[in-house]
Symmetry: C2
Subunit: 209 residues, 2 copies
């Protein structure tokens, strides 16, 4: 699908757009969605709020995003369109520890935590947000598997290792505490989670059989 | 605090009540809350709905539970008041595997999964539900640590092991998929999660230092 960077072009969620007016509009709308989710949560978010806070007319929002679910899903798509790459410290131990610390750091202040928290909450209310959240995490964890692929190349992990499971294992105890059990997380917990995933990797617990 | 089992007695969330009319009322109200959460989610649940589906008058619900947040929190308290005990298979490996399989089984059909899912979702909307969810999981995981305590007695784990971390590690990758990334879970994933937690335990990754 080709699209031109004009204001009337349909959005192309999940694809990168060139800079320009449409990209700026999309970013302004995304910012308004995030602030609305942070302030009111998904049940309290309205298209009117997004229009007021983005300066984009309500009819444009409906035409290009379809409505609230489309707005939230596109904000999640944009969150996945960053250039983040996983750490490359030279060892699996260092990379897993760094990954775990990045999770802890990203939730260390409530302002930074509000967007991901709002997305996880919205996924319980909207099937389309749930699909976008699934796609976001699937892509993010797949990016993380680069650290396991390099470990395999260095002979630190077995060639038949389930790399997707390893990187999820590092984050899982941290995200469990943030989003479900609502317990604090800290650097010591990040170290513990990374050490456990490393030990399980070395013991072959993630190898496919 | 003493209380008599009459309909006008204040509820005592988190404590077991004797059978009788109040316990039956509380259970009927809990069932109505669960079906309402399953059907409409927290944002769609109303005290009217609970009154209609429990047969308990709205004014009684307000007087005894304070309102919607209190109703949801008490339903969560009741969920934690069961007699469930963790498995005791004779080995840490067997116990962790059994724990993981119980998680998978509890989400294997959508009817069984609807109540826990609704509680996790409600915690994003209500501070009181969040506190009740935190208390539920804290108590549940503490119950699970019996399997680690027995492993320590058998010499399968170190005496300074962080037992709370071990039992959370078994569930975390499964609950991550159910509630956050929305990926399927199955028996193979349960085995993998248990095997990883066991290997990390044996390697000392959960030992306090």
């Amino acid at each position: 699908m080709t699209s031109t960077a004009t204001d009337s072009a349909p959005p192309a969620p999940g694809t990168r757009r060139p800079g320009g007016r449409t990209a700026r509009t999309r970013a302004a709308v995304r910012d308004a969605v995030l602030s609305g989710l942070a302030d009111h949560g998904y049940p309290g978010l309205t298209v009117e709020y997004v229009a007021d806070h983005s300066g984009v007319h309500k009819t444009t929002l409906y035409r290009r995003w379809g409505g609230l679910e489309g707005l939230v899903a596109d904000a999640l798509d944009m969150a996945g369109e960053d250039s983040w790459v996983p750490p490359d410290t030279g060892s699996l131990e260092g990379d897993l520890r760094e990954l775990a610390h990045e999770v802890v750091d990203s939730f260390s202040d409530s302002a930074a935590a509000s967007a991901p928290t709002a997305f996880v909450a919205a996924a319980f209310q909207s099937e389309r947000a749930a699909q976008a959240l699934h796609a976001f995490y699937a892509e993010r964890f797949t990016r993380c598997t680069a650290v396991v692929a390099r470990a395999v190349e260095r002979g630190e992990a077995d060639t038949d290792i389930d790399a997707e499971a390893v990187v999820r294992a590092v984050s899982a105890p941290l995200l469990l505490r943030v989003f479900i059990t609502r317990e604090p997380i800290d650097a010591a917990l990040a170290d513990q989670s990374a050490a456990a995933a490393l030990a399980a990797t070395h013991a072959g617990a993630y190898n496919r059989r």
